[in-house]
Amino acid sequence: LRKNVEDFTGPRERSDLGFVTFDITADILNGKMSIFDWNVKQLFLYLSAEYSTKNNALNQVVLWDKIMLRGDNPRLSLKDMKSKYFFFDDGNGLKGNRNITLTLSWNVVPNAGILPLVTGSGHVSVPFPDTYETTKSY
């Protein structure tokens, strides 16, 4: 599981807004056994960013998500993706924040039964720069 990102921040109103572009390469098969067994209806995949700020000890923001149905291609090879949701901080904690951890996780939705949340085994730490970009076309 590999992710590469480049990013920059911009101020909106009073909160920091982060822009992240990323690549995701993921193989949802687990060796010979696919996670898509007879009781798995779909996987809800999401890329989340986790970080700490002065205001809040823990922040988690979902940047992107995708529904993968049983039968869909289990290999993900996404390049240069923009985040699906605005990466707003509750305050100004993104500027100069050196440690934003991006993790890919997924919710297994069965045909019937328990709904587990699984965290992928790779994660990437990215830093945000110390300055704001004022004019950026996104």
Binding site: K41, Q42, F44, Y46, S48, N55, N56, A57, L58, N59, Q60, V61, V62, D65, I67, L69, Y85, F88, D90, S105, W106, N107, V109, P110, N111, A112, G113, I114, L115, L117
Partner: protein
Amino acid sequence: VVAAAVAAMLSLDFLDDVRRMNKRQLYYQVLNFGMIVSSALMIWKGLMVVTGSESPIVVVLSGSMEPAFHRGDLLFLTNRIEDPIRVGEIVVFRIEGREIPIVHRVLKIHEKQNGDIKFLTKGDNNAVDDRGLYKQGQHWLEKKDVVGRARGFVPYIGIVTILMNDYPKFKYAVLFLLGLFVLVHRE
């Protein structure tokens, strides 16, 4: 099928049985019925205690979480305070002043050192997050708005509750048949 069952119930055989039962047996049957209802209530309350949720089983009412959940699916919830709210989880929450619980996924959380948390939700099948659904001026949900977190589910079964809500005549018919069945059934 319902009509046939009713016809069978009202057939003379059953009425003869009822006439043959003396008062004591009838009271016995009524008590039996009462016990069944009480046991059911106790199981429900027990579930509330074990899961920590005031509503441990809910029926999905809308299609906003498709294709994962459809209208009529049954969800099993827990609401333990020790379980922290994290993104990706499916929460059932109520908006202040509204009765209907909503089942959506957590999109963002901001949690303070002391555990105070505010979070944003969104339905998988909705294009936008839930801010438009919250109360006027409310931007975030808090722990107090949460009824529980979805831990497991069973499809379709909740359709019966939706049918009973939308068609009260159906509800009365079901209750009437159940009552009749229990009273007439001889153990």
